[in-house]
Amino acid sequence: MTEHILRMSGITKTFPGVKALQDVNLSVRRGEIHAICGENGAGKSTLMKVLSGVYPHGEYEGEITFEGRRCEFGGIRDSEHAGIVIIHQELALSPQLSIAENIFLGNERAKRGVIDWNRTNYEAGELTKRVGLRENPTTLISDIGVGKQQLVEIAKALSKEVKLLILDEPTAALNDDDSAHLLDLLRGLRDEGITCVIISHKLNEVIAIADAVTIIRDGRTIETLDMAGDDVTEDRIISGMVGRALDNRFPEREPAIGEEAFRIEDWTVYSPSQPGRKVVDGASLRLRRGEIVGLAGLMGAGRTELAMSVFGRTYGTHISGRIFKDGKPIEIRTVQDAIKHGIAYATEDRKRYGLNLIEDIKRNVSAAGLRGLSRRGWVNENEEFRVAEQFRKSMNIKAPGVNSVVGKLSGGNQQKVVLSKWILTEPDVLILDEPTRGIDVGAKYEIYTIINRLADQGKAVLMISSELPELLGLCDRIYTLSEGRVTGEVPRGEATQERLMYLMTKGQE
């Protein structure tokens, strides 16, 4: 059984400024479950988007051969026509339509333009039985849980006579029972002859289900392991995933670590969209003055959710746990409370949540700290200008002046504006969420220098990052998060990429 159903060779995909994929090769045998592993941003999803025609032929280089034919997909419709269906991590279902309507959405069972409801519901019933879903096909999507929604997606794929099913992080949002059921279903589909490509961070699942694993790192294929032939362990996969060169240079710093500044204990947060699902589960961590602490975790581990739930409950419901500032318990109900207690959070999505893109630098810098620049509601514009100008110089924000609109700045300079904004509120604790995402190398170095400077001023910094070398180069201590739980705390001296990745992929026992 060595016939290959899919061969992708020499795939290169460039976005403005970045090479997302570089000469990637992927070969999938007919009737196997093929896992793709890699760190955040390694290029897994991009590769699947190339395969499924989201990025049409011509936008990438390289060749795709499917079922022995060379394919040049112009869009998702083309790839689906060939029998390739992708199920994205964010499910693409319409919540107010029924299961049957969703299964045949865009592919309606109709006679001369009029939908044949009997046939629709009957065929939907047959498909849901195949995937082990016992709900009536007329049930609304919004009335069933995520696990079952996932099954509806698979039923939808089956309705399109799928030959190659791609699942992007299918179990990330599922509880253990649903995950186990899904994996069983995939095994069943394999026996029916459907080939699966599965992207997953959960290495124990990969080991349990996959017939082969392809590891991608920094947009390149590292290796393909055959589960039957090679002796594949989690450690073996991890060593392929990490091992990114530590060539980023980091500014020198002599840490001067003081008293504890901030501590959270037993922090639990539930998902606002999926009742009963814990996004953060009993997490505890502490930060000391002058210390840079890293928070490592893969996509969906709950890093941002942890940070935002602490920062004025801007994420999640049924939040429980205790927060201590300088050893004293504090209560943070709103963002204003957080700022008052000297806590700042710079978001990972600076364009959407961190900045007002249609305003200028001056007003973005002053937005959070305006209280200090105004008296009885009246803003002192001269002072505001002076402060903004000061930040522009000290942070080296490259712009003609503080009246420049931030939407037109480069990513690095936008990030400096975000940091300026928070530094103006005079925080003791800074939570920086992916502070160097989408920033070029030179600007990264500048951001590192700024972070070091903040620590030297005695502030406690919690840095969330998907780039392990960055955490290793900058942090005094690193916490790892996996499925909402703190799975480890590693001091600088003991931290290696392998050790962190092992902790980050540690599933539930």
């Binding site: 920062f311 959407r352 949540y353 961190g354 937005a367 009246w378 609109v405 939407g407």
Partner: protein, 329 residues
């Protein structure tokens, strides 16, 4: 980056955010000059002052609307609140209430109506469109509970204000209402540009989520702008009462749409976050000048006003599209 097409060079010397206001200003000047060439006795200062006098109430209402639209909201209730204010004023004055008491009461009622709608919009997370639509029907309906007929106003203070003309030197003069409107514009402009509330209005409209994450009081801001809009509508209603010396439940029908048109023509983005009060003033002046020109023309039906406003709105919405395309990429 897209630049405003048809204005080569301009975007390099003038910040892009001022361009819509400048376009409106240019349009106003062009209309004034064209009118001056075409008609005798048109190009005088008094023509512009008359536009202020005839549109003082619209100007005040549009000021409130500007606050709301800057946060990314909309207030459809303003026309009805104007009518309700004239009705309350006229009926209470007929009952012999003192003018000052009536004025204060009407302003309080307008502000409270706005406050209520703002609170519902914010705390129940309902779209402003639907809440203020409900407010529009409610206020309009309340007019008829007072009376289905027009009530004349014979109060001395009100008639005195209606008839007074304040000389500005030469043969120029304005009504007290126009002056009140200008004062409202000045206060509002100061609030928008020199206070924290003003900053919060722009920040909320620019991106509500980012405003929340910056610790800005989005709740207070949103409720404030609807309160301001309600207050401005009530004040606009009083000015309308000075102007028409009557209260009528069918008055000011569709004024909310005129106010929205004026704000948009003035260059404020309907999505919020960008725009200036000066633009709104120019927007009202442009609308007023269209009416003036049509009355000078004599042979054109007054419905042509609507046609011109429609064409202008299309033009400005397209202009905003280009403007947005340039800054959000």
């Amino acid at each position: 980056m897209t630049s405003i097409t048809g204005l080569p060079g301009l975007h390099r010397t003038v910040p892009q955010k001022y361009i819509p206001v400048l376009v409106t200003a240019g349009l106003f000047v062009a209309m004034f000059v064209a009118g001056g060439i075409r008609y005798e006795n048109f190009a005088t200062g008094q023509i512009i002052l008359n536009v202020f006098i005839d549109n003082a109430f619209l100007l005040v209402v549009a000021v409130g609307m500007t606050f709301v639209i800057l946060t990314g909201g909309i207030d459809l209730s303003v026309g009805s609140v104007v009518a309700l204010s004239t009705m309350i004023a006229a009926s209470l004055l007929k009952d012999g209430w003192p003018a000052l008491g009536v004025i204060v009461l009407v302003l309080v009622i307008g502000a409270v109506l706005g406050l209520g709608m703002g609170a519902i919009i914010h705390y129940f997370e309902i779209q402003p469109f639907i809440v203020t639509l409900a407010g529009m029907f409610l206020a309009r309906g309340l007019c008829y509970t007072i009376s289905t007929d027009s009530i004349p106003i014979e109060n001395e203070t009100f008639t005195a204000i209606a008839q007074t003309r304040i000389g500005l030197g030469g043969d120029l003069s304005v009504s007290p209402s126009a002056l009140i409107a200008v004062v409202v514009v000045l206060i509002a402009a100061f609030v928008l540009h020199y206070t924290r509330l003003g900053r919060n209005v722009y920040a909320t409209g620019g991106s509500e989520q980012s405003a929340l994450l910056m610790g800005l009081s989005v709740a207070r801001t949103k409720i404030s702008v609807y309160t301001i809009s309600g207050f401005c509508s009530a004040l606009g209603g009083l000015l309308f009462a000075f102007y028409s010396l009557s209260g009528y439940g069918l008055g000011a029908v569709g004024m909310e749409l005129d106010a929205i048109a004026a704000v948009v023509i003035g260059g404020t983005l309907l999505t919020g976050g960008s725009g200036y009060l000066l633009g709104t003033v120019l927007g009202v002046l442009v609308l007023g000048l269209i009416q003036t020109i049509i009355s000078f023309e004599g042979t054109l039906s007054s419905w042509w006003t609507k046609i011109f406003i429609g064409v202008l709105l299309f033009a400005f919405i397209l202009l905003q599209r280009l403007f947005l395309g340039g800054s959000r990429r």
